[in-house]
């Protein structure tokens, strides 16, 4: 018996009796799924960029890297991301503080309105702002020029500044949400004791509140940075017409212009590698800058914070808030629906120019629009269900079974979170269009695979969170009652995490409904999604139809978001 200690690891493992138990089977399936959906596309990109016919070849990459157009695109990407992150963080921080720590009225309403941009597809926002502020035909610019009598527009949205502006509108909620919840959870006595110790209001904010919310700011800012660097929709809609490219839009353009030729895709893949390098470097840099301090004093929940009296600034601040919300939420929403009802683009926004024909058309007549709605529903529901189930399974392996090498699972599962959608799409093309003797190109399945990889991280995170709530002893209790591992999963764990799984489904369903980036590279003649359809109708110049379809999309998303709220509220109630 003593000698067993001296035996090798492998031999010891064999002694465990069973060859495969449920846990090991789940582990193997999880690893296999992640390798196929996530690791393979990434490896295919690297292989195709650096190898040509099985031999190392870095010429293509070097050539792409020295092309001034590409460098320009890279520079634009970095500039946009920098300004969006810096300004978006400030905006998010300002409003989070105002709502979390001041006595500004109408808090409940504003809190929910501030989160609206979070669910609004940015490329539809970009369309809306194009309608409002494009230099010659934008409604606001036209109004401005008719008022001043001049020919200079108020603001040209088709510019780097315009792109930055629109992205800020949709990305500041990342910081807003993070900081709001940190402020809510922060123990107010920390601030109060500083006041008692003699610090004035400004000192408290500077020395106590700020340092304590720094981790929340960092987390939010990181999300903005990643999102902006990989963002496609806004620069595509606002920049293409002015030849303003970012790396993601340049990748799309390279592939689109070569009509999907292998050479074009290889070039796109090279830029993808460059984009990933930029993302990784930016993240590393940001981590260094914000490493300064990490506090864990933010704990517990809902204590009454001391509110700062705004006094004579109360009304001006409220006006600023409402104005800001009006501009970033109401105005774009209004213009999309208003133009959607117009008989023809360019007509003044008057009631006699309105019609419901466009909506009728996209919902009942246009085959492309109806196909798009059908495809998007099919894709979002199947991606939602599959990704939620697979994500739950992988999360189960990571959280409960804790096998050796669970780190690999975590890395692979969360990787797509920081891999830009366009890069993932390129990888999926390289993997599934015949290189491995499976050709899914132009079919709906290739889009489904891309969605699954893209949203795996969402599912993994939400499933891990709900699994951590289920204590191990609950499953062990059912094992000792005579249930096999699989049965106890089915009878105990699954029912307990079911609400979390439903919420997880919607967390995938909703972004899939508004997805543009990956679908745009992967769609075929009959597999347009809502995003692709809106984008192409808009590019064709059929603005009113595009707006009508965008309106429909927004309504679907709002309905989904509403259902999600209902589910999560019910969960909290119990």
């Amino acid at each position: 018996m003593r000698t067993s200690k001296l035996r090798g690891k492998n031999e010891l493992r064999k002694l465990d009796g069973f060859k495969f138990d449920t846990g090991q089977i789940l582990l193997i399936i999880s690893v296999a799924i992640l390798i196929v959906t996530v690791a393979l596309p990434m490896l295919m990109i690297i292989y195709n960029v650096f190898f040509y016919k099985w031999s190392f070849d870095w010429k293509l990459f070097a050539q792409m890297l020295t092309d001034p157009d590409n460098l320009m695109a890279m520079w634009n990407t970095i500039k946009i991301a920098f300004f969006v992150t810096a300004l978006g963080t400030l905006v998010g921080l300002f409003f989070a503080w105002l709502i979390g720590r001041s006595d500004i009225p109408l808090k409940g309403l504003m809190k929910s309105l501030f989160v609206v941009p979070y669910m609004f597809p940015p490329f539809i926002g970009a369309m809306a702002w194009g309608l409002l502020l494009s230099p010659r035909s934008g409604y606001i610019n036209k109004l401005f020029m008719s008022l001043t009598g001049g020919r200079t527009p108020l603001f040209n949205i088709n510019s780097l500044a315009g792109i930055v502006f629109v992205e800020i509108c949709y990305y500041f909620p990342f910081v807003f949400i993070q900081v709001s919840s940190a402020l809510e959870r922060m123990d107010p006595t920390l601030e109060e004791s500083a006041r008692i110790a003699g610090a004035n209001q400004m000192t408290v904010i500077r020395k106590i509140t700020m340092p304590l919310v720094v981790p929340a700011i960092a987390a939010g800012a990181m999300l903005i940075l990643i999102s902006s660097l990989s963002h496609f929709g806004v620069p595509a809609i606002l920049g293409f017409s002015r030849n303003i490219f970012t790396l993601p839009t340049k990748i799309y353009e390279l592939i689109y212009r070569s009509a999907g030729s292998f050479e074009g895709i290889r070039r796109g893949a090279s830029l993808s590698v460059l984009l990933v390098i930029v993302v990784v470097l930016a993240l590393a840099l940001q981590r260094r800058l914000l490493q300064a301090g990490h506090y864990d004093i933010i704990r517990g929940k809902s204590m009454r914070p001391m509110l700062i009296k705004l006094r004579r600034f109360k009304i001006p601040m409220l006006v600023i808030c409402l104005l800001f919300l009006g501009i970033i939420v109401v105005l774009p929403l209004f213009i999309i629906f208003a133009v959607g009802f117009l008989k023809a683009y360019g007509l003044p926004l008057k009631l006699e120019n309105m019609t419901v024909e466009n909506f009728k058309n996209v919902l009942f007549v246009s085959k492309m629009a109806r196909d798009a709605i059908k495809n998007s529903f099919f894709l979002s529901i199947s991606a939602g269900i599959i990704t939620m189930l697979v994500g739950t399974m992988i999360a189960y392996v990571i959280v409960k079974i804790k096998p050796k090498g669970k780190g690999i699972l975590e890395v692979l599962g969360l990787l797509p979170y920081s891999i830009p959608g366009i890069v993932l799409a390129v990888g999926v093309i390289l993997t599934w269009s015949g290189a491995l003797h499976i050709n899914l190109y132009n079919s709906i399945w290739i889009i489904l695979i891309a969605y699954i990889a893209r949203y795996m991280a969402f599912s993994l995170k939400s499933a891990s969170a709900s699994l951590e709530q289920v204590h191990n002893s609950l499953e062990e209790a059912s094992r000792s009652c005579g249930a096999s591992h699989f049965e106890s999963l089915l009878d105990v764990t699954m029912p307990l995490i079911r609400p979390g799984m439903v919420a997880g489904f919607f967390l995938i369903f909703l972004p899939s409904m508004r997805e543009l980036t990956t679908s745009l590279l992967l769609y075929g003649p009959f597999t347009r999604t809502l995003g692709v359809a809106i984008y192409s109708i808009n590019e064709e110049g059929n603005t009113v139809q595009a707006c009508a379809l965008a309106g429909v999309t927004i309504l679907i998303i709002i309905a989904g978001e509403f259902i999600l709220r209902l589910i999560t509220r019910e969960r909290k109630g119990r």
Binding site: S4, K5, K14, G482, A483, L496
Partner: protein
């Protein structure tokens, strides 16, 4: 038929060995307690019997059948061991009613509906939860959830029932009540019970036999509660089983003195036969010391506390402080000592140990 046998079992988490070369034999129908400070690996022993831990070496047998063995390459999963477990956090399934919770093991054993119904009724009656059958766990108190967990372990008439500190999350009154109920249930059902706790009161109350474990997962003493209480083999066991004083003593001229440089205090005229060392410890429980007005062993009252049933004194003996407890009514009768008064100590049921170990329970 369900005796439990562990032979030379070793278990480790990663590099940390929790129990090593551990052997234990629990007889059929016995209520056996593993008593020890936390953490001492007692829960790990329980989990090894239940099938939640794999063995590094050794063998586990239930009712004569090997359920886990490193050498024979056997590992029976928990569901095939016919062992009921009551967890420290109850682990009552929150999405099932009380009756559903209790029905689950019967369902897994494919016991017919009619028979199941009777069994559920009977078991719920045993744990006095009949009125709550339709409730969901969140509508129950901790003690009630505890009963549900107990019923769930009992209902399928398992060979062995394992209880992991099931009472330590309950308040004191409930704990005492449940103590009796567990004992009662065990008598009625005749199951083999293995009970894990760090609470010596419960251990002494319910067990046929107790094994006292130390922090390294070793059994220090194994025996019936009375035997353990009467003859603790070492200071660890002594200290673990109740309140205790340890007085350093030394042998001078064939007599026993309290170790003290400034004073010469005669402790006893006779020497304990078992000890060969010159200096060692005398152990005495506070309740076994009689305080009198005069006697040989003089002390001074430092502090007096009235605790209802008992008076508790801190008595200065040389440079040592001794805890003494007196029955309140005999104290009333003989006169209560005041702070600062001098007194004499008469120590009964003394035990001697060569050294004293720290216990952190």
């Amino acid at each position: 038929m369900a005796e439990v046998r562990l032979d030379n079992v070793s278990i480790s988490y990663g590099k940390k060995t929790v129990i090593e070369d551990f052997s234990l034999h629990v007889e059929d129908g016995e209520c056996f307690t593993l008593l020890g400070p936390s953490p001492c690996g007692k829960t790990t022993v329980l989990r090894a019997i239940a099938g939640f831990e794999k063995l590094q070496s050794g063998e586990v047998k239930l009712g004569g059948k090997t359920v886990a063995s490193k050498d024979k390459r056997i590992f029976l999963p928990p569901e095939k061991r016919n062992v009921g477990v009551v967890f420290q956090d109850y682990a009552v399934w929150p999405h099932m009613t009380v009756a559903e919770n209790v029905y689950y093991p019967l369902k897994k054993k494919k016991i017919p509906k009619e028979e199941s119904k009777k069994l559920i009724e009977l078991t719920l009656k045993q744990v006095r939860m009949t009125d709550y059958a339709k409730r969901l766990p969140y509508q129950l108190s901790g003690g009630q959830q505890q009963r549900v967990a107990l019923a769930r372990a009992l209902v399928a008439s398992n060979d062995v029932i394992l209880l992991d500190e099931p009472l330590c999350n309950l308040d004191a009154n409930l704990r005492e009540e449940m103590r009796f109920e567990i004992k009662q249930l065990q008598r009625e059902t005749g199951n083999t019970i293995i009970y894990v706790t760090h609470d010596q009161d419960i251990a002494l109350a319910i067990s046929n036999r107790i094994a006292v474990m130390d922090k390294n997962g070793k059994i220090r003493q194994l025996g019936e509660p009375e035997e353990l209480f009467k003859n603790p083999v070492d200071s660890f066991v002594y200290r673990f089983l109740g309140l205790s004083n340890f007085i350093p003593v030394e042998v001078v001229d064939n007599k026993l003195y309290v170790q003290d440089e400034s004073e010469k205090i005669l402790f006893s005229n006779t020497l304990p036969a078992s000890i060969k060392k010159k200096t060692f410890f005398a152990a005495c429980r506070p309740m076994n010391i009689q305080l009198t007005r005069d006697g040989n062993l003089k002390g001074r009252i430092k502090q007096v506390m009235f605790l209802g049933n008992i008076y508790e004194y801190r008595v200065q003996l040389g440079k040592y402080e001794i805890r003494v407890q007196q029955d309140a009514f005999s104290a009333f009768k003989n006169g209560v000592f005041n702070q600062g008064e001098s007194c004499a100590l008469q120590m009964n049921n003394l035990r001697y140990y060569e050294d004293v170990e720290e216990v952190s329970a």
